[in-house]
Symmetry: C2
Subunit: 222 residues, 2 copies
């Protein structure tokens, strides 16, 4: 059945593939990006470009006023440098933005309820779980229950990548013809180039390698 | 044990009594108000005054940019008049703001995590359940589970009024010496006066009567 789905859309690789997957399945897809004052806000520019290319309605919710409440993360605190290295390292926990995913889903839920949409699309995948507590299935499940009860119009969370690796997502995106080269995911946030050293860059690169898909990303470090 | 609790604080009667109750129990209490572009934004002025009087740290998170996503409610849509009458009436559903309470708890959760607070104080009571789906215990329970999983630092939701009536809360506030006359809850949002006709005014008046506590609220209609 054709449904209306609001995808939480960062402009990164995972949510771009999700957008394409759901559109490809015939759903009405809307995209929601969140400006929370993130260091890597260039992702928002790319998010808008990708949606324009796909002809998808896109909104960016401005939560940047919350930045003072989100301290402690390298992504929302200017004095906290972005850690370099592999996601599996302890230092990567510095990149966790407090309660970010619940915030995103609460905003998406609000829009979904007022728009009478069926669901929210959420691109968390298996590789996220180790670092990001709010990418774990138990968390998403509890929020899914809450969103089913938050209004007389219930909304659910679609999360088809939960048991997939990032390499699986690259493969899926490639198969669907998603513009992977337009996606942006570097934590350093320098426009148009990926640093190649931060956790997301290392993970991104590795995923393309494992998937054996040619990587057109513009990295500083080769 | 003394805990740090962030109270979701509207400046209305219920959350004012909760603030006093938790402070009285010896907890460190912080207050969070949310500006979501509400018609009754005068509550935010009163919220600040009440916190100043109590010497409580108070923040107002500006989510007013979300107003376009929250359409459909009389409290966020200028062209939708505030329904008058008793809360039990079907027309009162017009006052429901889409996913408002999840939004508030998501922001409170973010602040609580970054501040390493123990919990969030939420003043929903038994009378709210009929109209507001996001005041139901099942909803709060699901969010409580989610907040316990959203970060490596778990946060829980304190909700001591869940089985109390508004009259019980008036009685409790009176006993604690809370400044009930400073609280503001009118949906019409006219500064300093309560209309006496909207759902919250009717409910407020009734609660004072049932509790047999003198009501110093300045109503337009006597």
């Amino acid at each position: 059945m054709r449904q209306t789905i609001i995808v939480i859309f960062s402009g990164g690789l995972d949510s771009t593939v999700l957008l394409h997957k759901l559109k490809n399945e015939g759903h009405e897809v809307l995209a929601l990006s969140i400006d929370y004052g993130q260091r890597h806000r260039y992702e928002l520019t790319q998010a808008a470009r990708i949606c324009a290319r796909l002809g998808i309605e896109h909104r960016t919710a401005d939560l940047s006023a919350l930045k003072p409440l989100l301290s402690g993360s390298s992504q929302t605190s200017d004095d906290q440098p972005v850690p370099h290295g592999h996601y599996a390292e302890e230092s990567m926990k510095l990149t966790v933005v407090p309660n970010r995913n619940m915030l995103m889903m609460a905003v998406a839920g609000a829009w979904a309820i007022s728009r009478k949409a069926h669901g929210i699309g959420y691109a968390a995948h298996a590789g996220d779980h180790a670092i990001y507590p709010d990418c774990r299935e138990e968390f998403v499940q509890a929020l899914d229950t809450a969103l089913g009860l938050a209004d007389w119009h219930p909304v659910y969370i679609l999360r088809p990548f939960m048991n997939m690796t990032k390499a699986d997502i690259v493969r899926e995106g490639h198969r669907l013809g998603a513009p992977l080269e337009m996606t942006y995911s570097c934590y350093e946030g320098v426009p148009e180039i990926h640093c190649g050293k931060c956790g997301t860059c290392v993970e991104r690169r590795e995923a393309f390698e494992i998937a054996q898909v040619k990587d057109f990303t513009n990295y500083v470090q080769t």
